[in-house]
């Protein structure tokens, strides 16, 4: 990234290189977003599994977290 070449004040902490972040962001990030999808929308607007088990189980949390539930 371009930031590496920019002179910075001495007090600025050293950033973590982007290449060290990208693999984690790609794999863990995708997985974590998938988890949120399960709490937020599975068996609501879209469904990977048939039935209403997931929806009903996380029902109260989904409402209180503010996601459209049903």
């Amino acid at each position: 990234m371009a930031q590496a070449a920019v002179p910075r004040p001495a007090a600025t902490p050293i950033a973590i290189p982007v290449r060290a972040i990208v693999p984690w962001a790609a794999f863990a990030g995708a997985f974590l977003l998938f988890l949120i999808y399960f709490v937020a929308s599975e068996q609501g607007a879209v469904a990977l599994f048939s039935g209403t088990g997931v929806h009903e189980f996380v029902h109260d949390g989904r409402h209180l977290l503010g996601f459209p539930c049903h």
């Binding site: 950033a15 973590i16 863990a28 996601f67």
Partner: protein, 252 residues
């Protein structure tokens, strides 16, 4: 480094989820109970219901272990994502140390991820919302969320660029103003959704929505305060080399 931050983010998420669950149990559940009572009353009166009531999961399970699972999984996932964003932002958004970076990011995240989408498409208790429009409402909610996060990221970049020329005290208000204008235009342009039944208790609705905001406030406050402590240890091990537990950490 990133791995350590990620793990600590998810651990912070466990704590955040647990605290949020206690809050949700005390302040959110009574409203959900009232809303469900309203819904069932409507069914008895022969009103057109949005879903025929056959219990797949009992209320007892929904309000305890189900809620804990929902809020807990959400906390862990948001915690991990928070750690990833932190890993990128640290040292890039300004000369802030880990705890300050975490606090700032949590504040930004709470506004961009929670408050802005909430103002346009607020949380709804059971019995509010037509099940035929769930697809549209979900798309609008996540659309608003995506726009808000995009605008916030743009505002941070703008503030960073302007700081060199104008100084932080001018650059940050300009960026915040730009964010508010962009969000305002998006809110004005996006369609309004109001599916609250006419007879639904305004008090229950208000309390439910405040409780919803409270749940998120607890989650993000936990990230802002607790994740910073973890991050400080990961990123600045020299600042506190195996601190003696009897001596208060001056490096803070």
């Amino acid at each position: 480094m990133v791995r350590n931050l990620l793990i600590r983010g998810m651990l912070t998420g466990v704590l955040a989820g647990a605290l949020a669950w206690v809050f949700a149990w005390v302040f959110g559940e009574p409203q959900i109970r009232d809303a469900i009572a309203f819904e069932e009353h409507g069914h008895e009166a022969g009103a057109a219901g949005d879903h025929p009531e056959e219990e797949v999961v009992s209320r007892g399970v929904q309000s305890t272990i189900g809620m804990l699972t929902g809020v807990g999984v959400y906390g862990i996932a948001i915690g991990g994502l928070f750690a990833l964003v932190f890993a990128f932002a640290y040292g890039r958004i300004g000369p802030f140390r880990p705890r300050a970076t975490a606090g700032l990011l949590a504040l930004l995240g709470f506004v961009a991820v929670i408050v802005v989408p909430f103002l346009k498409y607020p949380a709804n208790p059971p019995a509010v919302g037509d099940s035929d429009t769930i697809g549209r409402r979900t798309a609008l909610y996540f659309g608003m969320l995506a726009l808000s996060v995009l605008f916030a990221a743009a505002a941070v970049i703008l503030a960073r660029r302007l700081t060199d020329r104008l100084g932080a005290w001018n650059a940050v208000p300009v960026a915040v103003g730009g964010f508010l204008v962009a969000v305002g235009i998006a809110m004005w342009a996006m369609p309004t959704v109001n599916e609250v039944p006419a007879e639904f208790s305004a008090t229950v609705l208000w309390r439910f929505r405040v409780a919803s905001l409270g749940v998120h406030a607890i989650i993000w406050t936990t990230f802002g305060l607790v994740f910073g402590l973890f991050a400080e240890r990961v990123l600045r091990p020299a600042a506190n080399p195996r601190p003696d537990p009897r001596i208060p950490a001056a490096a803070g």
